[in-house]
């Protein structure tokens, strides 16, 4: 709880600072409104991050502290013990590397695949365009549980089980990313493309040197979704990966969930570690992400 109090105190300080910049007559009303705003936001803040705080508490305490009543709400001293145990159970660095490698490669390739498709869907007229786009969108409606078995069968027929290719291939063409990027490409001024054409630039060149650079925000938005998808992907990697050294983070974490033996300290340490990279990724790209979403939603 101490942490949340800090946050509230901090926001109140900010509040007075903001207030000082206001002109006097409006001050009282504005101040009241600001109090309202911060109260509302603080409530949501506590609700949103409390489970994360608790996750961290779990990571620094012994497994037996997970279920005490009243609940343990202060960090303990088992941080290193849990970290060491977790590392012994699943090999943190290896699975972290695997996950970063798989997610990173996936984002790069999927972005290339989706962006080029989205671009032509937005900016060119060709036969079957509408059909292709609709088909992409419709495919989002199929529950994944239904396609799991045929996909698995296919991967095993091609002898691709236990490869990262099998992990990422099915989702390289990611309809949601195509949709999001297409909406952004629609906004790109066609005149710019025309004038480049008159200057003799090839279509590929227009795409790579003129369109792409101006689409950074949209690409950032798409990569956040792609990264999130792959980083948290569980069921499919579980099914196709067959050795512990190939495991990605969520699959490795799940291997801690035995029948009657669960070391919650380790599990919470694991989920804390698994959350960090994705927050970092979001923080890095969030500014562009916001404007990228902007492009997609309003068109």
């Amino acid at each position: 709880m101490a942490k949340n109090l800090d946050v509230i105190e901090q926001t109140t300080n900010e509040l007075t600072l903001a207030e000082r910049q206001q002109k006097k007559p409006k001050r009282k009303k504005k101040k009241l409104k600001a109090v309202w705003m911060y109260t509302l936001l603080s409530i949501f803040l506590v609700v949103s991050i409390f489970p994360f705080y608790w996750m961290f508490i779990g990571a620094t305490n012994d497994s037996s502290k997970m279920f005490t009543n009243p609940p343990t709400l202060l960090p303990g001293d088992q941080f290193m013990t849990n970290l060491t145990n977790l590392n012994e159970s699943i090999g943190i660095f290896r699975v972290l590397f695997n996950s970063l490698f798989v997610s990173g490669l996936y984002v790069v390739i999927a972005l290339a695949v989706c962006a080029s498709a989205a671009y032509v869907l937005a900016k060119y007229n060709f036969k079957g365009k509408k059909f292709i786009f609709t088909a992409f969108l419709l495919s989002m409606m199929i529950p994944y549980q239904a396609t799991l078995i045929p996909l698995f069968q296919m991967m095993s027929d091609f002898n691709l089980l236990n490869t990262y290719f099998a992990v990422i291939a099915p989702q390289l063409c990611f309809p949601f990313a195509i949709f999001l990027l297409r909406q952004n490409f629609l906004a790109f001024p066609t005149e710019l493309m025309e004038s480049a054409r008159l200057d003799g630039a090839s279509e590929t060149r227009i795409f790579i040197s003129i369109v792409i650079p101006s689409m950074r925000p949209a690409l950032a938005a798409a990569s956040i979704f792609l990264f999130m998808t792959q980083w948290n992907n569980f069921m499919w990697p579980l099914v196709v990966l067959n050795t512990n050294d190939m495991y990605t983070f969520p699959v490795a974490l799940s291997s801690l969930m035995g029948l009657s033996y669960i070391d919650y300290g380790q599990v919470m340490m694991g989920v804390t570690l698994a959350t960090v990279p994705i927050i970092a990724f979001f923080l890095t790209l969030q500014k562009q992400f916001i404007s990228g979403m902007l492009g997609s939603a309003l068109k």
Partner: protein
């Protein structure tokens, strides 16, 4: 144009790279003939590895690769592999008692007949309830491993405070009376139950009476006398206010180690969870046999336990069999399982010191002895291939009863639905 083809070929090259960077071929089919792959969950892994080390002394070329995964994950992968016609499966897989017959029925011929390979000779070393579970048309399709002989785990401190002697509890009526006294004297619930989510207690009581969701002829038996009696116990506990509702595994364990409930009828494997999650409660525990339905009646039952099976798709079934036969019958291997918190079903080791010793955590009670003597009396029952659906219906009936429906009515409705669902 060139650049487009360039882009496409770049993608292709990348995909090739990706394909290359996975190490394929480690799934049994193509594997080298000395290597066996196993799927198992956490506490079972060290036992397998220990066994492999010993097996290697006689077979120096032997190699075992254990792929560790969560319990539910084993089933997800096994089901997917079997569904795809035996693809990507290991040579050995660990399967719990209540899942075994489901797999054997849904995927006939998908597991190696171990009787053909000579395992029948070892049959006597295991309790009959285990060997029957793994049998179909007279042949066995797996190796019995650990068992879940049941008992009532109880908090000695709470019993003492209430002045109740646990050893006096012989029948379920006694159990309910004890619960009332405990409730009155200490304001503690007798038992934690997840009435809407799990029916463990009901299943234990059915098994104790020698029946199950299905009777000896594999017919649906949710409305049997035994079933009604079991549901009545459930309901009396609830009506007398002796039940603390604990939803899910985590809450149940929590209630026990926090002293919010006085007892927990369960399988022997609960030992591991209590000792791990309730380190501070050492010395405050005891175990008695499950109460009987009438004085002098059977008190042996089973909950949980697991077995090893060899998928027929294994490219190395003979070696896998040799290893598993060794694993299942070697005394030292099974004793190492015991140390790891698994209760072996191999009965030739029950005279070992590990089973007769006093357990400090349990106030120096020789609890393993109690479980070991129980093993041979556990009635064999029919789980059948429709266990999962039947359990779903039984839990539903239990939930409806807890919410006020009459027992007869709820069980009858569930039985009808179950018959419909399995046709």
């Amino acid at each position: 144009m060139k650049k487009v083809t360039g882009l496409v070929s770049m993608l292709l090259v990348l995909s090739m790279f990706l394909a290359a960077c996975g190490n394929s071929g480690s799934d049994g089919e193509a594997g080298d003939s000395n290597k066996v792959t196993a799927w198992a969950w956490n506490i079972n892994v060290p036992v397998l590895e220990e066994a492999a080390k010993k097996f290697k002394e006689e077979n120096p070329d032997f190699e075992l690769e254990v792929v560790e995964m969560g319990t539910d994950d084993v089933y997800s992968k096994l089901t997917t592999g079997l569904q795809a016609g035996g693809k990507g499966l290991p040579d050995i897989v660990l399967v719990e008692d209540d899942r075994v017959q489901g797999y054997m029925n849904a995927f006939p011929d998908a597991f190696v007949n171990v009787s053909d390979k000579g395992f029948d000779e070892m049959k006597d070393s295991f309790p009959s309830y285990k060997t029957e579970l793994l049998s179909k048309d007279g042949a066995m399709y797996g190796f019995p491993f650990d068992g879940g002989p049941t008992g009532v785990f109880y908090r000695t401190d709470i019993f003492e405070e209430a002045g109740v002697n646990a050893e006096d509890i012989k029948t379920w009526d006694d159990y309910i009376e004890a619960g009332k006294t405990i409730k009155e004297k200490t304001d503690t619930a007798m038992i934690g139950l997840d009435l809407n989510g799990d029916d463990g207690l009901y299943r234990m009581m059915l098994n104790e009476q020698g029946t199950f969701y299905f009777n000896e002829d594999k017919e649906v038996a949710l409305t049997s006398e035994e079933s009604k009696k079991a549901m009545e116990v459930n309901q009396t506990l609830k009506e007398e206010g002796l039940v603390k509702e604990t939803v899910g595994w985590d809450a149940w364990i929590s209630a026990m180690v926090e002293g919010d409930v006085a007892t927990a009828p369960s399988g022997a494997w609960l030992y591991g969870s209590i000792t791990q999650q309730g380190k501070d409660t050492s010395g405050n525990w005891g175990v008695i046999e499950l109460p009987a339905f009438e004085e002098g009646g059977n008190r042996a039952s089973n909950l949980g336990g697991s077995n090893y099976m060899i998928p027929s798709a294994s490219g190395n079934a003979d070696l896998a069999y040799d290893f598993m036969e060794f694993f299942s019958t070697d005394k030292d291997v099974q004793l190492s399982a015991m140390e790891g918190g698994l209760f072996p079903s191999l009965n030739t080791i029950y005279d070992n010191e590990a089973f007769t010793k006093e357990v400090e955590f349990f106030n120096n009670q020789p609890i393993w002895n109690l479980f070991a003597t129980e093993m041979e009396n556990i009635p064999a029952v029919n789980y059948t291939g429709d266990y999962a659906v039947a359990k779903d219906e039984a839990v539903k009936a239990q939930s409806e009863i807890a919410n006020g429906k009459a027992i007869d009515e709820a069980l009858k409705a569930s039985e009808e639905r179950l018959k419909n669902r399995i046709q």
